[in-house]
Every structure is written in C-alpha cells, then in structure tokens.
Symmetry: C2
Subunit: 625 residues, 2 copies
C-alpha cells in the first residue's frame, strides 16, 4: 500500500553469507509438476565413484527434502525488503473464490498502518490482503472434501516422494520392515492420496491465502515426520533483521515450519517481515499479542480484542494459529497440586482470565466464530495444550487428559466447518508413558495430526534438553506424531542463539528421521545406506555431504586429521594407518568373492532373504575354503 | 618394585583444576557400612528454602550416585605418582585365598620392567601382583554362589540405595509406575539381593584383586543403569598424563566404568598409570595390545601371545576384558555382503586371523583356559560382539545373531567356572529393531548383563552421533540393557577431545536416567521432582545444582540474564518480567487453596489417586467459586 521511501532497516536488512551460502556437495533442483508454474524444490547430493580397491562403481546422487527455499538457490535474487516471489498467487487467484480487500480489516492493523512512527520498521512492499468471497470456504480441506486436487496438493505429493522412483528403478530401495502402529503409509504418494488424507482430517496443508510465498508442505502421520522451530524476540531480546536471519538460518538446517513467538515491541511489523520472506508455513500464538494489547493484564482480555488479533494476523498470512480453547474453567483446579502447575503461557493466560471472571474460556465459547475466520483465509488450527505437563511428575495427569478430550470435541466442530486442525501435545513425559499420549490423541481427536513439544524424558539435564527431548521426540514420532516442535539446549534457561537453534534443529531432524526409519517410510533408509557405504569406502567428502550437517562433520574430522590428503586416505584417525578394520573387511570380501559369492546384488535383496542367502553361501564358502 | 628416582613425568603428572574443583552446590559424603573401613561415597546436593510467596518451606538435600572418587573430596590428597589408596586391600587379604607373587608373571610385563628406556614413563610405586592360591577361585560370583556376602557386595547395596530411606521417610518417593519388561527390581537393595543377583549371573561386580583402588559398583538390569566412557591414545594421539586427566574428567561427569582403548606406544605403562589412579573399574580389549606385539600383522597372532597379554593385564588390575570369542570362522562369510562389513576392530582382527589360517578362532578354542586366568584374578568377561552391525542396513542380520548364539554358549561355560560375564551389543539399529536385540540377548545368554554401544538409530548425522545413539541407548536401557557404552559427537570422524567426552557422557547419563525412570527404578524420580520444584519456584541456583551439569546450566542462563539478581528473580528470560506463567500458576494455587484444597500432601499421593482427588476437589472448587 503506502510506499514510503526506503528506511534504514530496509536498506540494511541483509542476510549474512553464513545463512545463504550453498550447502556443500549439493545443488538445488526443481522437479516439474503438471503445469509450468509448479516446480518442486529439492536438494541433490552428488557422490563420487567408489575407489577401485572397493569395486570402483559409480554412486548415484541422493535427493533429499529441501526446506531452505530460494535462499540456497544461486540463481535466486534475494531482497528482504521485496520479499519472496508469491509462487502460489496465481493458484489462489484462479480458484476465483477470494477477493482482494481495499484495506486491512483489523482495527489494530489499520492503526499500525497509519502510525508514522512505525515507518522506520514497516515492511515496504505490502500487497493488499485477500479474503474468501462472502459465503465461500477457501480451506484445502474444503477443496479436498469436494474432490478437488489443488496445485498445492500436487506440489506436496511430488515433494514427499523425493524422486523415489529413481531409487526404485536403481534397485536401491531395500530397507528394514517398519512398525507403523496403524499408520497407512503408501509406497507412492499420489496427489489423490494427499487429497484424501486432507479430506479425512488425517493431514493438514497449512497455506494461508495471504502467504502465497510459501512452498506447500503437509503434516500428517502418513507423510514424512516434520519439525517446527520457534523464533521470536521477547521483551529482553532481538530485533527485526535478526529475526528474519533466524528464520533463514532455521530453514537452512531443515525446519519445516517456523513459529514466531515474538512478545516484544513491533510484533506486528516483525511478523510482516518474517512472513514476506518465509518459504515455510508460519505459526503464531495470537493470545501473546492480544495480551500485549492489554498491557499484560490477562483479566482485561476480551473476545473482541482477540478477534481483531486473529483477523490482523490472518490478513498478514499466518498459516496456523495455536489456540488454547481447551483450557476450561473446571479443569483449572486440576492443576493446583502439580509440581509445576500450568507451564504453557497461553494456558496460564486463559486460566488467569477464567479465574478473574469466573467464566468459561472465551476461546471455547466463541469457537465457531473462530472457525468462520479460519475458513475465510485458510488458517489451520493448532489446538494448544494449555494444560500440558511441565515436569515428569505431572505427565499424563487428569488436567492434561481432560483438556485432550475437549480438544477432540473442538476438532469435530472445526471439521464441520472444513477447517484444518492439528493437536498440540506434551511436554515432559517419561518413556513408559509416551505411547498412551499418542493412543489417546488418535482416539479422542479422530487421527487429526499430533504436534508435540519433545517430550522431555527427564528433568535433570538443564542445558541438554535438546537431547532429553530428542529421545522422547523420536519415540513419539515413531508412534504417530506428525510434527515435532524442537527444543533447544537453552530450554528452561534462556533464549536460543543461532548455535542453539542449529543444535535444536539437528537433534530434531535426527528424531524425525529415526521415526521415519522405524515406521518403515518408503525410501527413508536410502540416505542412511548411501552414507554408510561412503563411510565404509572412506569416501570422506561424500560422508560429509550426505550428513545432516556437512560443515560440522568436516570440522570434526579436520580436528584430528587436517590434511586434505586424509580425505582420500583409506584409514581414519580412530585406528590409524597401521591397522584398519575396514581394510580387513575388504579382505573378507575378496575372500568370499574368490569363493564365488556374487557381490553385485547385495543391496537389491530384502534383508531376510539376504540373511538366508548369507547363511547358505556363507556355509558353502566355508566348506569350499 | 624398582623405585627409580622420580622422573619428569612423575613430577609433572598433575591434574588441572577443572577436573578436581568441587562440584557446585554439592558436598562429598560417606555412608558407613557394617565395618569401619567400609565407607560408601555419595554426593549430597543442598537446596535452599522455598521463597515465601510459594510457601516458604525447607527443601531437603538430594543424594546422588557419585562416580568421581576421591578427586572431588576436598579432604583427599591427590598424588598421581602414588596412586589412590587401596581401599579394598584388606578385604582381599582377609579372604586368605590369594598370594602375593614375587614378580610379574607375563614375559612381556617382565621385559617392560627391565627396560631402562621406560624408566621415564613407568609408574613408580607399583605393588607386587596377587593371584589366587593354586586351585582357588577368587571371583565375586564364586563367593556369591557359596553364600558369602563380601564387603564389595555390601558396599554396592549401600551405594545403589542412595539413602533412599531418607526420601521414603520424608514421603517424597511418589513416582510413576514403571514398565520393566520382566526385570525384578526390589524396593530396597539388600546385600543379600546383590549376592543373589551375582550368583545367578544376572549382575557382575567387576573388581580385579589387583585393582584394590576401585570403589565397588554393580552392572545388572535390576540395578541403576550404568554408562561406560572410552579413553585411550592411538597412533595419532595423546600421552600418559593426558589419558589420566581424561579418566578423571570422565568420572567427574559420571562414567561408571572406563575402557582404556589405547593402541599407541607405551600401552602397558599408560594402563598402569590409569589403573593406579582409577576409582572405577577399568576395561580393556587385550587383542589390541596383542596385535601391537606382532606389529599389526593379525595373522601372526597366537594363543601364546594372547595368553601372555591376558596375564600381563590381569596382574596390572584390569577389571574386565572384551574378548571376541564368538567370531567363528563359519560366520565370517555372513558379513561379505554387508554394507559396512565388520566394523569391530577386535572382530576384524580375529576374522583376518581365521581366514589367514583357515582355523577356528583361538579365543573360542582356548576359552576354558581363558576362564582359568579370569578366575585367578577375578577379571570379568565382556564377551565382544565382533560381528555387530556398523550401519542401519546391517542391523539384526544373520552374522550378528549367529555370534550372539555363540556368546550364549560361552556364557554358560564361563559360569561353569564361576567367572562373571557381560555381553556386548550393537551398534547401529533402527528403533523398531532394538527390542529384538534385548529379547534375544536375555534368552540366549541367560540374563547375563547386556552392555551395548548406543545403538545409533540413524546413520545420517555424523557429528551428532551422541544424539542418534542416546535415543537408542535410552530405549535399549529401558528394555533391559545394564550398561551403556557412550558415543561421542566425534564418532566416525575423529578422536574425542575433552569437550566431546563431556558431551558424550552427558548424553548417556540422560539416556541411563531416562531408562531408570521408565523401568520405575525406586527413587529414580526424586531428582526430577526436586529439580522441577526448584524450577517452578525460581530457585535458579538449586536448579543448576540439581542438574547433571551445573556449570553448563549456569553458563547458559547467564548468557541471557547475566546479573546475579536474576538468580533470585521470580521470572525468567523466556517470558520476561512483564508476564510469567509460573506467577499465574501461583494465582491458581492461591485460588484453589482459598477454596480449601489442601496443598500439603500433593507429592505424597500416588499419581492416579492424586488425579482422582484432583477431579473431585477440582469439581467442588468450581461449584464453590
């Protein structure tokens, strides 16, 4: 709208080289869909040839899921003040069920718009907001239920497959059988499957019509396990440019969605900068901003203020809202004897409001009106677990499960409106109580995607909660959680810096992938197999490049063996040049081969079959020798 | 024996302050046993009073298991060249079944003894080795099976209980019910229970009669889950003083046993320095040194050389030997088609020997003779899994499980000789295949303690394998593994430095504790509950002190809120002073209290009962309000 002259922020909003440099050994590729403007980004990791001593064959490139957006594309021209290209704009427009509004709808939004004091921090090139035509419903769930496969759904199908057909044709798809606890993961993800999963509420595709810059992604237990990273400044902390940099940093390492939990000044403006530059869905907790609007006095919150905040954020393009509508007045006393009471900020805000007014949570009483707003912009619900346990002691208690029942009830109401829903989960849970959380959630909430924070499996390691929680996250992901909200090493102690964000994301990429392997997700083991083969063959560079963090792997290797030559050496620092178990294994292979054991098809064979063949041929080799 | 003048090494062998300074907020205590020379070290963490706003009560100190030995005792006088006091010497002597030998038995040991070139690196104050009287068996298992409760067993019983009676009397023992998968964990650990577990082979108490400096500890699934840390220099790396410092560093952070995997020069001398200064059991892989003796030419290994190495190390005081006696000639070809072949160094050494000679593994053919040596010094077997998988692809394959069967057969032979045994396990295993490893091991090996390396649950994160493996370690510990061998972030990339050792141990202390919580080990939740309460009440100092790594926790907190005042502030950096969920929870408590909900006994009540009471009283509160 108003195009005020470029401000200092606009001129200085630059990303550091460390968040935009190409990822070592990888190149950005785009897999075309059924229409020219449907190009799905992926990352292709090149591999070198196997050294002659190990057989000398070629090793195919490995395609991996890529969340980093245009920032890792050398071709892309990045201008934070311009924002990313609105790749979904035409798809949204073509559907013809939305209108461009003449101005922002929310009072607060308009007030910020007019305030000249904010010119210095305002995002310049804002487009007018869109909203559903009167009576229209623009959610992906609504389309799905009417049998429509949207470009977003096709995009997701291509993206989830990660060019698996190439691996399958190459006969490299062999992996262990999984245990999926009742999930229904197909061998190939089709657009129709995506549509069907969204239609039945088992998956969500968060894509606000006012966030056309986002690359479609899906959250559901029958798809790859996703992770979320939280950013956001607080009273004590960071500025706008810093938050955008954090966003780009987070998606570089693999965050599938990012939640902006800002609570400081300029929440509105910070959010605009983040969304305009984000290729991943952005989630928020609107009650945080609503609370700012009443100067932190929870009792002064009202439906009207909250409603205006929802519209304000929906028109900026937030893709999912955490809403604590399950914190009911009658549940609050159930927390009185907990060791750590109510630890969810949103939950405690609503609890305070309920107690102050002796009235039922207005998010609950106005839930259908909230649905009306959600479906006008396609904002998905992330139903917040305001009463989640904040300690091992409080896990799986009456308050937590009472709220979960209510979230199940609200899920059905949202679905009645064709509004997409996921359910937030704990928190702090010892290992033996994790499974119950998933089983109950699936039952109570009709298989709506579960989105859990960890859970932490012990409370005794402040400073290492990315690890205490990665253990719980891997397990709960295996059992059926669709998205894992990361925890950084700073949890409970302070605000994460860049390194903490990286460490938290790495721990969660590990947990999510371990879950995919355990569920037997098709192709999940391809990258493990490729990296292990590279490791066995001392293809150090390939091993680094195939890892989740090539820079860290190289750095660690170089601490012990700095010389470039060692990247090719057929030994490593663990055993030294004098003796090497890998070399001996090669002797075993040569021996076995000499006895006529055919090497070629090892990987093509299924594990069990392979083992059997091992036994037979192994036996023969022995007698032959 | 020979008291050569103090060498440079002896004069300079000093520990840095960072490995000996007192642990913040803790004091060393000794719990007396039935005799004056039986004093069990523990660490007591003090707590401050609850702030008045939260109730103002006293918080009892928390007792935790302490592996750090005299090094964290301000009273202790540390002299590395003198070694630690031989606290078990009298107990061993009293049994009257051992003799002091006139000299070292092993040829190699004697040769090193005479070599003047080694004076500079030799440990000075060595005592003469002891051995069982002819025909005697000095293993703890032998005593246990004859109904004898040794001081070592009593020491262990006191140590495992961690003064739980105090907690029980204070009514602070409430915790979640566990799932122990068939373990038999008693409410109170008695010396008789310890004896019985050792007698039936379900637990081992590794304590070589030539390592009287060690503080008795036990490894078994019905006791606290233990962790091992590996140290040791390689061809490429560190010196003697550095290794001793690493040992002290490792036990400071919680290593229950330490394996010396040195492969470089001066293995013999390094080991002497380590054992003389180690309060924890030391394990080794004798085949590594035997290989050095034949200049790395595996095919030149012989039973005679290996035998001499066993005796050499047994007389130095090594508490357990990893012996790869299950790598049978007929199993070797089963590994030919693996993605990563044989990754165990010991396994590949024996494989190479078997292939070179077309003969059966001499560790297998001479197993009974090995047992004779073990029982003369009470060295425990750690039966090595030389064919463990080195990648997700190779997990649970024919080679791995064939070897496990043989380890079960060898376990029974060792038990026939009353020799203590534990079984080593993988390695790399995806989550859905972990349980099978424990179930098979318990069945095949008659519940002999399982000792696993990780397992890593994915191969795609080089640089983060302390995390990929902590996930598997926590789960396999829960299922029944007795000791977890740590993995550091440098795994597969290089040799761990101090920081890597600390990170690896922390990840494994977390995994082991998470397992104890999940098994429902009595009192396992006490520390979690105390830390959570401190967290809720903003007792920052207590939260730091109760954590596994007080220094790291404080450091992280100070990054965001450096000022001392903030250690007392009733808010934290996450929400800022403006708004705080903990404060709101306190309002909820005050409200509930005002309605007559009695706070006092919350923690005394079992979870289920508590929940029920919550519901009832919660309801009443609501109507009353």
């Amino acid at each position: 709208m108003n195009a005020n002259p470029a401000t200092l922020l606009q001129q200085t909003a630059q990303l550091s080289e460390s968040v935009t440099r190409p990822i070592p050994g990888s190149r950005k590729i785009y897999v075309p869909g059924s229409r020219p403007d449907l190009r799905v980004p992926m990352r292709e990791i090149a591999q070198t040839r196997t050294p002659t001593v190990f057989g000398g064959e070629d090793n195919p490139p490995v395609t991996v899921y890529d969340t980093s957006g245009p920032y890792t594309d050398p071709e892309a021209r990045i201008d934070l003040a311009a924002g990313l290209p609105p790749l979904r704009a035409r798809w949204i427009d073509e559907r013809g069920d939305t209108v461009e509004l003449p101005a922002l709808t929310s009072e607060f939004g308009r007030a910020r718009e007019q305030d000249p004091k904010l010119d210095a921090v305002r995002f310049p090139n804002r487009r007018l907001p869109r909203r559903a035509r009167p009576g229209a419903n623009v959610t992906q769930m609504h389309y799905a239920r009417r049998g429509i496969i949207t470009p977003e759904m096709e995009f997701v199908a291509i993206r989830e497959n990660q060019r698996l057909e190439i691996v399958r044709d190459a006969g490299l798809l062999s992996q262990h059988a999984g245990e999926s606890f009742g999930a229904s993961i197909p061998k190939v993800i089709t657009p129709e499957f995506v549509r069907d999963e969204i239609a039945r509420g088992r998956a969500i595709l968060p894509c606000n019509i006012n966030h056309p810059e986002s690359e479609p992604m899906i959250i559901g237990r029958n798809f790859l396990t996703k992770i979320n990273a939280n950013i956001g400044n607080s009273a004590v902390s960071s500025g706008i440019a810093e938050e955008v940099e954090k966003l780009v940093w987070a998606i570089r390492w693999g965050a599938d969605t990012v939640m902006d939990l800002s609570t400081g000044r300029h929440i509105h403006e910070t959010r605009e900068w983040i969304i305009r530059n984000s290729p991943v869905p952005i989630g928020t907790v609107p009650i945080y901003q609503a609370l700012e609007k009443v100067d932190g006095r929870a009792e002064e919150l009202s439906w009207e203020i909250f409603r205006d905040t929802l519209v304000e954020q929906a028109e900026q393009g937030v893709d999912y809202f955490t809403i604590h509508a399950g914190v009911l007045l009658r549940y609050i006393p159930l927390t009185a004897r907990r060791v750590t009471g109510i630890v969810s900020r949103g939950g405690s805000i609503m609890a305070k409001w309920c107690l102050a007014h002796h009235r039922e949570n207005f998010l609950y009483t106005h839930f259908e009106e909230i649905c009306e707003i959600m479906k006008a912009y396609d904002v998905a619900f992330s139903l917040g677990d305001g009463l989640r346990p904040g300690s091992i002691a409080d896990a799986n208690d009456a308050a937590q499960f009472a709220e979960l029942e209510t979230l199940g009830e609200l899920t059905k109401i949202a679905w009645k409106h064709d509004v997409q829903v996921m359910i937030e989960g704990p928190g702090h849970v010892p290992m033996q109580l994790i499974r119950e959380n998933v089983d109950r959630q699936l039952r109570e909430c009709g298989e709506a995607p579960f989105y859990t924070l960890g859970p932490l499996t012990t409370d005794i390691a402040p400073g290492y909660d990315h690890i205490t929680s990665a253990i719980g996250a891997a397990m709960i992901g295996w059992f059926g959680t669709a998205m894992l909200c990361y925890v950084t090493p700073k949890e409970h102690l302070g605000l994460p810096n860049r390194q903490d964000v990286r460490d938290g994301i790495m721990a969660y990429k590990i947990a999510a992938h371990a879950a995919d392997l355990a569920k037997g997700h098709p192709g999940a083991q391809v990258r493990d197999n490729a990296l292990s083969k590279a490791r066995f063959e001392f293809r150090w560079e390939d091993q680094f490049h195939l890892g989740l963090d090539p820079e860290k792997a190289r750095e660690f290797h170089d601490e012990t063996l700095p010389k470039e030559a060692h990247k090719l050496a057929h030994f490593c620092s663990m055993c030294g040049p004098h003796f090497c178990s890998m070399k001996i294994t090669q002797d075993v292979r040569d021996y076995a081969a000499a006895q006529g054991v055919d090497e070629r098809t090892a990987l093509e064979l299924g594990m069990a079959e392979k083992s059997e063949q091992f036994r037979r041929q192994g036996g023969r080799v022995y007698q032959a020798g």
